[in-house]
Amino acid sequence: MKTSSPLGRRIRRYFSLSALTFRMWNFTGTAILNLFIWVAIAVYLFPLTYMAVTAVKTNAQLSDSRSPIYPAEALTYAYGGKDLPVYNVPQDDGSVAQWAMIKSTRKTVDWIDTLNPERGVIPWEGSWRSLERTYIPRIELGNFVGLWENLDYPNLLRNTFIIIFFTELGVLCSSIAVAYGFSRFRIPGGKYLFMLCIATIMIPDSITLVPSFVIYTRVLNWNGSFLPLIIPHMFGSAIYIFLLRQNFKTIPREMDEAAMLDGAGPVRTLISIILPQAVPAVVTVGLLHFFNTWNEMRMASLYLSTRMDLRTMAFSAQAFVSIGFTPEVLQASAILLMVVPVVVLFLAQRFFMQDMVVTGIEK
């Protein structure tokens, strides 16, 4: 009996009705789940699709309410030394022909058939204003070029990156040091200091705004410089300290104790033992700070409004609404504003918040 061999039995079991049903259910479930999530992401990012599509449209297309939804250009037809507008003209047999308009009055049009110009001028009667222009897909990059030329983008980028560079350096060094202090040393009252540190995350900006504004502008005379945007970050940030401390605590203490026994001081232990194992956490904090600084607008609007040459990307964009940019230029500027953080996110997604396991806020 060949069919009772192990292979035959396995084949028969594979094709048995119950197994087939099970696999079909399984497959259907997987398919539905994956389909659902892709539909969800499409809906979730729908406004971004709008942004991307509109940014490569022309203003002429946006003004025509009957233009297609995709970026396109109204077709013209060169005839007799002129570029004639092309319309979709319905024919008697139900088809639609693409005819170029030579001359028009209110009710009559002289057409030329774009596919068959030898036919000559076709006189036509009807309300041609209800006809649609013929559009062909075309991507217009002029919005970006115009923005790049009119706004001093290299300068804006330079200012933003100066601030990002210095604050990143300061906030990372300080936060790592403080997180190390909180995670590895028995400090008298350290538990309460850490709870105080967590509590400062909850303090709304508004309360410190008035006094710090007075101090920065009146006492320190930092108005119109990068200093109010950079110096506060030199003291670390409570939320980054929290995230880093959480991560440092998951690194076994035996390793740094061994290093300490070998004569490594605390700083050396931090650099050579703790940090190499905390790369994803440090990268995550660095990225969070990068996104935050790129988007930062409040401090910039308070202290840089008097200095046009020191404007940052996000702050300069604030003026676009009042300048009265048309939708397609606004969408292009939105892309220019977000492209850097989004590219950075995609490049670093392997590390970003990858093993950020938050176990507790008090502990």
Binding site: I207, F235, N292, V357
Partner: protein
């Protein structure tokens, strides 16, 4: 048997030097040195400004005429009690918090649940795509929403309102905070997903053997196990709904702050230059946020299961 009397070869007496610190004290001191950046920052950037704001709130300090500042007692707070604009703003802030935060948490939790399924493919790219809107600058979102709801060329009008025969939406401003709230689930989602993935699979296996269905498993295992992550997301969403900066900052300009109260404070500050009154409003807002936060922390003992700290780390 001399050595049994205890006088034998004992360890040498530790050399006590009067000015040397013990190991424990030394450790505390070194640790404290590592904390100095934060302690300095706390004093300079938090404690002093908060005390100063409290002090200013009892004066009529105005930006343009600082020399005329006098102590006015509780006048600013009495003004606040009669100021309907401030009351409405504060109510608006609380209403936004009550509406937005639960929805954000629920969506993030549901999404994390879907992502913890083994059947989902292409997880890294999907994860990044769902997170991506959370880092878009607020001003870019403002441009997108203004275009999307444009009565002539916006897609909301072209794709939904016109085919349904409805009039175009004239005012897009009300959709801006909605969009911001919807696009803020990223951090909470990733934090909850991380927590869900760190739940040991044996726990689920054991529950399955005991006959627990998926819904029971979700409520009796997943939720308690990830409750610290839910709590953390709750805290960061609360802070950002009150206009603060937690984890991710979109850079909202003051005039478009999600929290109407914050917008009102800044109007008082920059349009009317009434810094004394603005400080008093900020103190009121601080108290409201403090009460909300304290209530949240107090509630943790009923629903958040913090992992037990190891006993040997008494700090």
């Amino acid at each position: 048997m001399e050595w049994t009397s205890g006088k034998g070869p004992v360890e040498p007496e530790p050399v006590r030097q009067p000015h040397r610190l013990t190991m424990r004290q030394r450790e505390g001191l070194v640790g404290f040195l590592f904390l100095t950046p934060w302690i300095l920052g706390f004093i300079l950037l938090k404690a002093i400004p908060i005390l100063a704001a409290l002090g200013l709130s009892f004066t009529n300090f105005r930006m343009l005429e600082p020399e005329k500042t006098v102590f006015v007692g509780l006048e600013n707070y009495i003004t606040f009690l009669g100021d309907t604009g401030a009351g409405a703003s504060l109510f608006g802030s609380i209403a936004f918090f009550v509406q937005a935060v639960p929805v954000e948490l629920a969506v993030a939790l549901a999404l994390a649940l879907v992502f913890s399924s083994k059947r989902l493919r292409a997880k890294p790219i999907l994860r990044t795509l769902f997170f991506m809107p959370s880092i878009i600058p607020a001003i870019a979102i403002f441009f997108i929403v203004s275009g999307l709801f444009n009565p002539n060329s916006g897609w909301i009008n072209q794709l939904f309102m016109q085919p349904l025969g409805l009039p175009p939406i004239a005012n897009f401003f009300q959709f801006f905070p909605v969009m911001l709230a919807v696009w803020t689930i990223g951090p909470g989602f990733l934090i909850m997903l991380g927590a869900m993935q760190s739940v040991p699979p044996e726990v689920y296996e054991a529950a399955r053997v005991d006959g627990a269905g998926p819904i029971t498993r979700f409520f009796t295992i997943t939720i308690p196990m990830i409750s610290p992550a839910i709590f953390f997301s709750l805290v960061i969403n609360t802070i950002s709904s009150f206009g603060g900066v937690a984890l991710l900052d979109r850079g909202l300009p003051f005039s478009q702050s999600l929290s109407p109260m914050e917008g009102y404070i800044n109007t008082q500050m920059f349009s009317y230059t009434k810094l004394g009154y603005a400080s008093a409003l900020a103190v009121v807002m601080f108290i409201v946020v403090a009460v909300v936060t304290l209530a949240m922390f107090r509630s943790t003992k009923y629903w958040v299961h913090f992992p037990e700290e190891r006993e040997d780390e008494d700090f």
